[in-house]
């Protein structure tokens, strides 16, 4: 399978990327690792006329502590996040979940900014980020702006990002040793989740239960008013709209959401050490 023809522009800085996006408009797509974009281009589901390659902007690759938050550059590749010592100490759910993305070859190429921008409801890292909360920092012709993570994903392949903006950083609160868990149900080792659940400090996010990754609001409210894990997890599929495909119908996905939420909350309440084992 071969993508349809396009013009290729390589940029060396964020400013150059914004200028190229402004020049080429909605027909342009950003290319970082390419592991979300190239497969859909090969299937001709996406037919951009210009690809702007930001994969060479290496100063977008970092993980650092800034006050109460951890700032992660959008160009950080999954394998870099997976092995990052700062992330492991400050926000350990992220390196763990980065290691659940695809397989080693995919993790060598895929970037945090790419998976956030792609807005696939079955994506691993966005699910963890949604449970963490925080901010997506984007840059456009008028400079930088910050978008709360809870407002970033609008639907299937749809985000709050404008056509002339790119993601430069994701900021999440430092969680340290607080309990967390990520429960992922797949058919095969390196597949997308049929359903996945991320839990951090009473916040719960679901993968593949709606058009985008979503918070399990009813579960979170139940936990906040002191309900048991079992009671709270039984509400995990409330207000969701899971799809049906050859792997799972809607009712099975709802069952998985409730089951995996219970497991995630149990593991998270057992502390990070138990979860990471």
């Amino acid at each position: 399978m071969i993508p349809s023809p396009f013009d290729y522009v390589r940029v060396q800085s964020v400013d150059e990327a914004v200028a190229a996006l402004t020049e080429h408009g909605e027909d342009a797509k950003l290319l970082a690792g390419g592991h979300s974009l190239l497969p859909i281009m090969k299937l001709r589901l996406a037919v951009p006329t210009v690809l702007i390659d930001i994969g060479g902007i290496r100063d977008l690759s970092y993980v650092r502590v800034e006050g109460d938050e951890v700032a992660i550059g959008a160009g950080t590749r999954h394998h870099e996040l997976e092995g990052d010592a700062v992330a492991a100490a400050e926000v350990p759910i992220l390196p763990y979940v980065a290691g659940q993305v695809g397989d080693p070859q995919v993790r060598h190429r895929g970037t945090l900014g790419g998976t956030v921008a792609h807005s696939d409801p079955a994506s691993d890292l966005p699910t963890a980020l949604l449970a963490l909360g925080g901010t997506v920092v984007v840059q456009g012709p008028d400079g930088r702006r910050e978008i709360p993570i809870t407002e970033f994903w609008l639907g299937f392949f749809e985000t709050a990002l404008q056509a002339d903006e790119l993601i430069v950083e994701v900021r999440v609160p430092r969680t340290g040793s607080a309990g967390w868990a990520y429960e992922k149900f797949t058919r095969r080792a390196n597949d997308w989740p049929i359903v996945a659940v991320a839990a951090v400090e009473g916040r719960v996010a679901l993968a593949n239960m709606a058009g985008s990754v979503v918070r399990a609001t009813a579960t979170e409210e139940a936990l906040a008013r002191g309900a048991s894990i079992e009671e709270a997890a039984a509400l995990a599929d409330q207000d969701t709209s899971p799809g049906a495909d050859m792997h799972a119908d809607q009712e099975y996905r709802r069952h998985l959401a409730r089951l995996l939420t219970r497991r995630a909350l149990e593991r998270a309440s057992g502390g990070a050490a138990a979860t990471a084992a």
Binding site: I2, Y8, H35, H108
Partner: protein, 167 residues
């Protein structure tokens, strides 16, 4: 557009279409056909090569993305005198293959596994090779081969330096 890519130590500049995938560049432009194209969907790993020190699936990388980079394929592993790379030798000795179609990608992926972890357990080998499918399901001997290669030491996780494989 023009790309300059060093493949197995041999630098070359070629005129390519931006949409040319690295797998096709290696096979059709450079004539290196050990890199197999299996599924073409980033699933099977048969097209695995090493780009700038990391394993990738060359069916999901554009040739233009590796402009200025170093690519190692299966053809670049053996020494100039034909001496096999430790992973190649282990795959032969442990019979880590059946039909052989997945073997070039498996060998490259195995080098990546050993680069990250010079002494992997059975489970760590299986997790490290999760991106590579053997349609004969000959995994048992493949895992044994990777563990046998680990006994060769750090060389098993390295691809030859460019100058060493110059013809």
């Amino acid at each position: 557009m023009q790309v300059s890519i060093t493949v197995n130590g041999q630098p070359r500049t070629d005129e390519v279409e931006p949409r040319l995938l690295l797998a096709h560049y290696l096979r059709e432009v450079r004539g290196l056909t050990a890199t197999n194209i299996g599924c073409d969907t980033t699933s099977c790993g048969a097209c695995t090569v090493v780009v700038d020190g990391l394993t990738v699936k060359s069916c999901t990388v554009l040739a233009v993305q590796t402009d200025g980079g170093q690519v190692t394929t299966l053809e670049g592993l053996a020494g100039p005198d034909g001496e096999l790379h430790p992973v190649q030798r282990a795959f032969r000795e442990e019979h880590g293959l059946q039909c052989g179609f997945c073997t070039p990608g498996m060998v490259m992926a195995a080098i990546g596994v050993l680069a990250d972890n010079p002494d992997p357990s059975d489970r760590e080998v299986r997790e490290g090779l999760e991106g590579n499918l053997c349609r004969c399901t000959g995994y048992h001997n493949i895992v044994r081969a990777v563990q046998a290669a680990a006994k060769a030491g750090p060389a098993a996780g390295q691809v030859p330096q460019a100058q060493e494989v110059q013809a």
